[in-house]
């Protein structure tokens, strides 16, 4: 359960307003999509959620934990797949995941058991013991996801998870995210791809120019905009079609 209230973040000493008055909530057992064109402030919003950036004002609560007060506790509660996957090329996939398990303070047996689970669920058997140098985008995302979820977090944040993936891998990824949802987790993902939210998300938060343009289920958004397709609704709600072609 995430509650964000009136988040504001500026860069360059206040000259660039990246995020302004962003409020939304994401519930357990649901997939919430942050939808918006490139540069709308999705990544900045997520970075504030996973405490890498401090909001200038506004408040965040994850399962009732305030990141400003307990940054380490909130990091244990979250599983984050950031925009930059950043694997260590000289380590094998297993070693990459194991490293994060150790950083979370998990014991050896738990780490190995969890890795075996991910190998099965994410179909990583073929490359789990290979060095990640030369991995495809799909393989990298799988490793990054396993790494982020090694400590079995209740809340999962994903920044543009399907970036650079082919159709088959994207389908597998969506299936996996639905599994997370059915396990009762709170899943938040950011994307600029309409089909993704349409196919996946229970709730949609449309962000444009650093502000929340609209929030609700797909049907609610259609009703509010009076358009027939989600794409038209999106264009109408953000007030322009910029970024859609990116």
């Amino acid at each position: 359960m995430i509650e964000a209230k009136a988040l504001r973040k500026t860069f360059n000493k206040g000259k660039v307003v990246a995020v302004d008055e962003v409020s939304f909530s994401a519930r357990d057992g649901q997939i919430t999509g942050l939808l918006g064109p490139n540069g709308a402030g999705k990544t900045t919003t997520l970075r504030m959620l996973y405490t890498l950036l401090k909001p200038d004002s506004g408040g965040i609560k994850v399962d009732g934990i305030d990141p400003a007060a307990e940054p380490l506790k909130i990091k244990r509660a979250l599983g984050v797949v950031p925009d930059s996957r950043g694997l260590y090329d000289r380590l094998t996939a297993r070693e990459n995941i194991r490293y994060y398990g150790r950083l979370h303070g998990l014991d050896k047996a738990t780490i190995e058991r969890r890795i075996d689970e991910f190998v099965r669920v994410l179909d990583m058997g073929e490359f789990i013991d290979r060095k990640t140098d030369g991995f495809s985008q799909g393989q990298r995302v799988k490793v990054a996801i396993a790494r982020a979820l090694i400590h079995d977090p209740r809340t999962v944040l994903l920044d543009e998870p399907s970036n650079g993936l082919d159709v088959m891998t994207t389908r597998a990824l969506r299936e996996f995210l639905r599994q997370l949802k059915s396990q009762g987790r709170c899943v938040v993902l950011s994307t600029h791809i309409m089909q993704e939210v349409a196919a996946l998300c229970d709730r949609i938060v449309i962000i444009a120019h650093g502000r929340v343009a609209a929030e609700g289920t797909a049907d609610e958004l259609l009703a509010r905009s009076g358009e027939k397709t989600l794409e038209d609704a999106f264009v109408k709600l953000i007030g322009s079609d910029e970024g859609l072609l990116a």
Partner: protein, 389 residues
């Protein structure tokens, strides 16, 4: 923190380039250059001292006595070229002896007879030869003046009011210490080289791979992540240092030191002391390089900073080479300088002043900890985390 430490070591041991550069080439470079340099220097010196001296002479006919004296001393008199000045200038000959036609005249009259040595004193290699020629000439001059005095019934000792004797207290070890003056520089540079790659890889490299952001999301205070990285870098530096010192000990044992009448006081015991002295410098180098590399966005950018930092350990070493002075207490409190002076004392075979060692360890250790503490705060700056935006 341990997890970070173990991972960084594993990660870097996987990189064959790192292993070759820092653990093999780095420690070997110093001793090899050093050994080659010294054995070349000494061989040159002994060759010049012992090789038969060939001396071109202009106007040998004007002083047959002098020439025959020189020949008795084993000097090979050769025909001088037509233009002696040009021959020396073009470095065909090192030294040419010229006896003018007025030599005989002055000799007969009892005036100092002119003898000219033609040489280019700015050519360092000619120094030995000139000294040898001068020595022969002075010996002959002394002999003749003694004969002249005796002929007139004067005791030759009257012309020697004092007799200067130098009592050389230098030991073979201390003479060897002169040769080892470069050693501290090579040791310190090894420490810096050893930590360089790792410092870049764990910071700028992490940013370039874009793995820093996911890493910092882990529930670990940021200073602990940095501490793990620093510990790994320092371990690498210490490993390089240890290997470098052992390589030095081995390289020195192959040098023809007995020929030079000196002993190189560099055994494993001295190497162990040097290791202890430089250990805090390893942490200091690791912290300093890590701080710099953390500001760089890419490997390449970081490497360009490193080129300048490598000059830092050179400053005290060269200062001591240029202006050799006695070790004083304040010197042992200056990081990098203290390692220099104390290692020099060590290889000169002087007893270790434990108070100085303590001061050196304490001050360098303190400087290292301050730098490490600064490094620990670096990842609290958002602009050092994100590669973009």
């Amino acid at each position: 923190m341990m997890a970070v430490y173990i991972k960084e070591l594993l990660d870097n041991f996987r990189d064959r380039r790192v292993i070759i550069n820092t653990l093999i080439l780095g420690p070997l470079m110093g001793p090899v250059i050093f050994a080659v340099m010294i054995s070349f220097m000494t061989r040159q010196a002994t060759e010049r001292m012992e090789a038969p001296l060939e001396l071109p002479v202009v106007g040998a006919e004007h002083a047959p006595n002098l020439i025959s004296f020189l020949e008795r001393q084993g000097v090979i008199i050769t025909e001088a070229p037509d233009d002696p000045e040009a021959a020396v200038r073009q470095e065909v000959e090192e030294v040419i002896l010229r006896l003018g036609p007025d030599f005989g005249e002055a000799w007969e009259a009892g005036h100092p007879a002119p003898v000219e040595l033609i040489a280019d004193l700015s050519l360092r290699y000619s120094g030995t030869t000139i000294t040898r020629v001068r020595g022969y000439l002075n010996a002959w001059s002394g002999q003749v003046s003694q004969l002249r005095l005796q002929l007139r019934g004067v005791h030759p000792d009257l012309t020697r009011p004092i007799n200067v004797q130098v009592t050389d207290l230098s030991t073979p070890e201390s003479r060897g210490g002169m040769v080892l003056a470069f050693l501290p520089y090579f040791i310190l540079i090894t420490v810096f080289m050893g930590s360089m790659h790792m410092a870049i890889d764990t910071t700028a490299g992490e940013r370039e791979r874009k793995s820093l952001e996911p890493l910092l999301i882990n529930p670990l205070p940021r200073w602990q992540i940095m501490a793990g990285k620093l510990a790994a870098t320092t371990s690498f530096a210490l490993m390089t240092l240890a290997l470098g010192l052992v390589a030095f000990v081995f390289a020195m044992s192959y040098l023809p030191v007995e020929d030079m009448d000196m002993a190189l006081n560099l055994d494993l015991r001295v190497a162990a002391w040097a290791f202890l002295l430089c250990a805090p410098a390893a942490l200091m180098a690791a912290a300093l390089l890590t701080i710099l590399a953390a500001f760089a966005k890419s490997f390449r950018e970081a490497q360009s900073y490193m080129g300048l930092v490598i000059l830092v350990p050179m400053i005290p070493s060269f200062w001591i080479l240029i202006d050799p002075t006695r070790t004083e207490t304040w010197m042992t409190m200056v990081p990098l300088l203290s390692q220099n002076v104390l290692i020099l004392d060590l290889v000169r075979g002087e007893p270790m002043n434990l108070a100085w060692v303590g001061l050196s360890l304490a001050t360098t250790g303190l400087a290292a900890l301050v730098l490490a503490a600064i490094a620990g705060t670096l990842y609290n700056r958002p602009n050092l985390i994100f590669t973009s935006g």
